[in-house]
């Protein structure tokens, strides 16, 4: 139901699921499950999902389909792909997915076909967090974890931790708060997290970086940092000090709207409990074009507190090797593939996004690459539970670009926007109906988790690892998929892991690779992966690529009268773009609302609950969304939940409910970090006719 994959326990009777709960054996979970988790039952029995392979019979998006058998559908896709690859090369195929347990298999598929163009949703969410971490520590964000349970103060920049939720982290955090930990929350909008915080600042939208420079200014001026840690592990402190000199708390007060005295107070308060301090680096890190510098400033604050590799702070994730347990095998790295010489389609690791993590790619470049055939023609797209039409900004441009493709294949559990626009739908079994590759969860206590098949598929659906192998066989690359069953995949993954057998998963659904928390020695043993082996405030990664480590702060202008900064976010009930049609979740949150400040609404003659129209440049409009008129949002911003305004009639419950944020957002990116700037767009609002 959700990419967090909180571990669950499923009770089955007569091949039907009768109960889902959180895995009782996992700390921080202990049976707990969120709304989405329990709503898995409704997904399982939903008749409004693809039930058999379908081949388009009308125009794209028209909704005319013919039912096909698997053989026919797979032959159809393979024949077309073969012809496309023959004429345009393997690189004319792009494959997009949400990172999942079988990513090593889909990457194998692309590599074997000679396409460098496998991409994941990751960059759209947090590309700049990834690059920021690499620029400072040499690790990606995915290689970092947070020790919530032992923290004494956590600072969240719009990380709406109690709504955009992961169960174990929030229970660990609540436990810490029970023991006196403080929560500081910074967001232009009062979320539920704000209502649980000890300190809440309604910051002016887009100015978090100014706040952080003032915090750093204070910490350096008052020498509040962890001196031993910084001396040992940080390079570039003097350069940072010189840089933040002009960014006083008084200066930041004017930019952010947060009182200077309050900023100083926070700096002193966190310093008192260092290093058990978390400046949360974010879940989504895709808001503004200078995103990487905000994320770097947050990570630098952690470094100054000495909290990177500290209990109650940030922890570098440990894997099987660190636990002395050998290695976990992946098909995409364990095999030799034909050499690929062409660059990626999306400029990831090249001109457009030179520092972005090209193992994930930059899907926001999809429409541009197709339209301009730059760097070469793209002819086919396979989308596996990835939603280009709601996740990439300026979705009407994406839709136009898709028209130029010769083949669109959706491997999906839903009638998503892209499935409805595809030429072929290969329906995927849902997580309760399929087993998947084992999951390696790295962390202070690394572990392996297993997803077994709970029940047989309700409809004629298949797992993606099976679908890709069938396509591979037809495309003469079957030799790269040396498995028949899921057990073959599991045994391959475990072959070089010491002392783990499949039956070890029987008792609890997971196998712990270390019984104690693994920390590197803070005095001498933190293996930072930068060239200097230190946390590089002056970043060799950035500087070598010609980017400054400390560009001067650029003030954020207030939107012109009648315009607002469009902010987007999540609630606890829905997963991104994929659950709006779930019968149980739809009942709770059937549509999104436009939060707008009461003064702004009064000026525009907008009443609470009234339908309004939202308009962005260049003339993208969203028909109807209800206004939520409130004091609890900054007057410069409006806010809506992500993932509504769907256009697929087959999803009858959420069809045309609310507004689509992706339709309104302009496609602007942080080209250094790699994220799109999803909260940068200015919109106008007026009463709907």
């Amino acid at each position: 139901m959700c990419t967090v994959r909180c571990p669950i326990k499923v009770v089955v009777e007569n091949d039907d699921v009768i109960w889902i709960q959180g895995n009782p054996h996992v700390g921080g979970i202990e049976g707990a499950l969120c709304a989405k988790g329990s709503a898995g039952l409704a997904l399982l029995h939903d008749h409004e999902r693809p039930q058999y392979p379908m081949i388009r019979a009308g125009a794209r998006g028209e909704g005319k389909w013919r039912k096909a058998g698997w053989e026919e559908a797979l032959d159809y896709v393979a024949d077309r792909l073969k012809a496309i690859i023959q004429e345009h090369g393997g690189h004319s195929l792009v494959f997009g997915e949400r990172t999942n347990l079988n990513t090593h298999i889909s990457k194998t598929f692309c590599k074997a076909l000679g396409s460098p163009n496998h991409f994941t949703h990751d960059a759209l969410c947090k590309g700049s967090v990834n690059t920021a971490f690499r620029s400072l520590t040499g690790y990606t964000d995915a290689q970092m974890a947070i020790d919530y349970a032992n923290t004494k103060h956590i600072v969240l920049y719009g990380r709406n931790i109690f709504e955009s939720l992961e169960i174990a982290p929030i229970n660990n955090l609540l436990k810490a708060m029970d023991q006196g930990a403080k929560l500081t929350y910074i967001d232009p909008r009062v979320t539920i997290t704000a209502t649980k915080a000890h300190r809440y600042w309604m910051i002016r939208p887009g100015t978090d970086l100014a706040l952080n420079y003032a915090l750093i200014h204070t910490i350096l001026k008052e020498k509040l940092y962890d001196k031993d840690y910084v001396r040992r592990w940080v390079s570039g402190l003097n350069e940072l000090a010189a840089f933040v000199e002009p960014y006083t708390p008084e200066w930041a007060e004017k930019e952010t709207g947060i009182a200077a005295g309050e900023i100083v107070a926070l700096a002193r308060e966190v310093a008192e409990v260092k290093p058990a301090v978390i400046f949360h680096y974010g879940y989504r890190g895709a808001h503004h074009p200078n995103e990487i510098y905000l994320r770097r400033s947050i990570i630098m604050l952690n470094a100054l507190m000495g909290s990177i590799e500290a209990p109650g702070g940030l922890v570098i994730r440990k894997g099987p090797k660190d636990a002395g347990r050998g290695s976990f095998s992946r098909y995409d790295t364990a095999q030799e593939f034909p050499k690929i010489t062409v660059p990626r389609f999306d400029g990831s690791g090249h001109e457009a996004f030179p520092l972005a993590d090209s193992s994930h790619g930059n899907p926001q470049r999809l429409a541009y690459a197709i339209e301009n055939e730059d760097p070469y023609p793209i002819k086919a797209l396979i989308a596996n539970r990835f939603e280009p039409l709601q996740s990439i900004p300026d979705s009407s441009a994406v839709r136009r670009a898709l028209d130029k493709l010769e083949l669109i294949v959706a491997i999906d559990v839903n009638f998503s926007e892209i499935a409805w626009y595809a030429d072929v739908i290969l329906p995927e079994s849902i997580y309760l109906e399929r087993a998947d590759s084992l999951q390696l969860v790295q962390g202070a206590r690394p572990q392996l988790r297993i997803r077994r098949q709970a029940v047989s598929p309700r409809y004629d659906t298949k797992p993606a690892w099976w679908i890709l192998k069938q396509l591979a066989n037809r495309l003469d690359i079957g030799q790269y998929f040396p498995y028949e069953t899921i057990e073959d995949i599991w045994n391959f993954q475990l072959k070089d892991l010491k002392g783990v057998k499949l039956e070890d998963f029987d008792a609890k659904g997971f196998v712990a690779l270390s019984d104690k928390a693994l920390f590197f020695d803070r005095k001498d043993g933190i293996p930072f992966k930068t060239p200097s082996g230190k946390i590089e405030f002056v970043s060799s990664l950035l500087e070598k690529a010609g980017f400054p480590s400390f560009p001067p702060y650029e003030p954020v202008p207030s939107p012109p009268e009648g315009s607002f900064r469009l902010m987007v976010g999540r609630c606890a009930v829905h997963t991104h773009v994929s659950t709006q049609n779930n019968v149980l979740l739809n009942e709770l949150v059937p549509e999104n609302e436009l939060w707008i400040h009461s003064r702004a609404a009064a000026k525009l003659g907008i009443q609470d609950g009234q339908y309004v129209q939202v308009i962005s440049n260049p003339l993208n409009t969203n028909g109807r969304i209800r206004a939520k008129v409130t004091e609890f949002i900054h007057p410069e911003a409006v806010f809506m939940l992500h993932g509504f305004g769907k256009t697929v009639p087959a999803q009858s419950r959420c069809y045309q409910k609310g507004a689509s944020d992706a339709l309104l957002q302009e496609n602007i990116s942080d080209h250094i970090g790699g994220s799109p700037a999803l909260d940068e767009t200015l919109v106008q609002v007026r009463p709907a006719k």
Binding site: G22, S38, F162, I170, A197, Y200, A572
Partner: protein, 174 residues
């Protein structure tokens, strides 16, 4: 009042609405009836900070329920052994008298069966020694279920812990 009590720890509740879905998925209910509902109150500013409450409203299982005597068919009933108030669906004729009578809106309308459906503390689970679905899977474990007298103690324990901690802070601050 039944011998059971359902305690909600407001401090830990994050209004995630999971309890509602745990309930509905367990009972197999269609859109419409919400046997236990989270009623959000706020946000409002309290001592300079935005605060919001999420009040969980299942059935209270009254000692002297309004809904039972008004039921003309004796479908609404109280279990003698533990006081759980529940509907016997075979006897319910859908007259809605109980919906009218209940001061808190606990009895709900099932649009597909044309009968009343209400929170029964998941008595089939309780009889197996399990907790109601909403409690068993609560995201933050802010819902607790048990005998009234034990729950009373839970509250006192928590209060004592809070006070003790505050005292500690006050003392160490001197």
């Amino acid at each position: 009042m039944s011998k059971y009590y359902l305690l909600q720890d407001q401090k830990k509740c994050i209004g995630c609405l999971s309890c509602e879905v745990h309930c509905k998925s367990n009972k197999g209910l269609p859109p419409g009836p919400r046997l236990g509902q989270i009623m959000p109150v706020g946000p409002k500013m309290i001592a300079g900070l935005p605060r919001q409450a999420f009040i969980f409203m299942p059935c209270f299982h009254c000692e002297d329920p309004w809904c039972v005597p008004v039921c003309p068919t004796k479908a609404m009933r109280k279990r003698p052994e533990d006081g759980i108030v529940y509907v016997e669906p075979a006897l319910c004729v859908g007259c809605k008298s109980c919906i009218t009578a209940c001061p808190w809106g606990a009895p709900q309308w099932h649009p597909e069966t044309g009968k009343v459906v209400k929170c029964d503390y998941c008595m089939d689970r309780v009889d197996q020694g399990l907790e109601p679905a909403c409690v068993a899977k609560c995201v933050t474990h802010c819902l607790h279920f048990g005998r009234v007298e034990d729950m009373d103690r839970t509250k006192r324990e928590r209060f004592a812990k809070t006070v003790a901690f505050e005292l500690e802070t006050v003392v160490s601050g001197r």
